[in-house]
Symmetry: C2
DNA sequence: TCAACAGTTGCGATTGGGTCGCAACTGATG
DNA sequence: CATCAGTTGCGACCCAATCGCAACTGTTGA
């Protein structure tokens, strides 16, 4: 299933004029198989483990390319290297458990609407936003 | 007035066991005089301009110390060096104009409450959060 | 007032994420 | 299958930030 997704993306990218190289194909498969939020180094390792050697520089360049194509999204949490996730899901924000480092996704329409309202009131429109809740399990500590 | 504020802080810090050196005193004065969101390099320059030579390493160390004391807050916007602001103001979030780089502060109680609710629903409490709206003036572009 | 020392500073080296220049290579096209 | 613009790997490089270490200095207690 994720293999299929990777193939779909390849076709769409080729359509958009992006050359599908051995390295990009491998990274697409790695990304399609992700159910987490890996950083560039981690993706580099996973591609290697999957049997395709890709240089780290190429990992970075490919991630930038795929982001420009809207295939993946870049997450920049506080003080960590950037992480990446597939962009084909519905929009969501992130909760980061400060004790375990776990990343939990969530959505809330009311928050989305409020943000748009606030921006509008001040004469702006939202290009992009970032909401991160750094949290701790209740009753810990 | 900002001079007074800097003196107040010195007293409080000394109380907390933080040694007040020439360099820290200068940086406190620089910070108290800020009505913007400078980064470490900028603060380094401002201290120099104010007549007190402080090494960049010390600027970084002092900022870390002051943050630990709750005197200032660290802002990490996308892909920029970290910026800093006094922490004695009321809590607020940030809007960043993507065209001009301007940083606009805002607050919204409803958003604050919603965030707490969402975290609570999932069994968490918020330690810290970050909401950034990357915006563009309406009608531009 | 000052000795003592833990905490702080400046310097230059280092780390770490990420980018770049360039020569060699390779998908896509005709 | 020849062509060539786009892509890759390598190592050098960039930048923000941190660190080790020797020299220095607030603060404290006598």
């Amino acid at each position: 299933m994720t293999k299929d997704r990777a193939r779909q993306l390849e076709a769409a990218l080729r359509e958009a004029g992006v050359r599908i190289t051995r390295q990009r194909s491998a990274l697409l498969r790695v990304l399609a198989a992700c159910d987490d939020h890996p950083d560039a180094t981690e993706l580099h390792l996973r591609a290697r483990d999957a049997g395709v050697a890709v240089s780290l520089a190429t990992v970075y360049r490919t991630l930038t390319t795929l982001q420009a194509q809207g295939v993946i999204e870049k997450l920049e949490f506080r003080g960590e290297p950037a992480r990446w996730e597939p962009a084909d899901q519905q929009h969501h924000d992130h909760m980061i458990d400060v004790d375990t480092g776990a990343v939990i996704e969530f959505t809330n329409d009311r928050i989305e609407r409020l943000q748009a309202e606030i921006a509008a009131e001040m004469g702006y429109e939202i290009v992009h936003h970032r909401l991160e809740l750094y949290v701790r399990r209740r009753g810990n500590g």
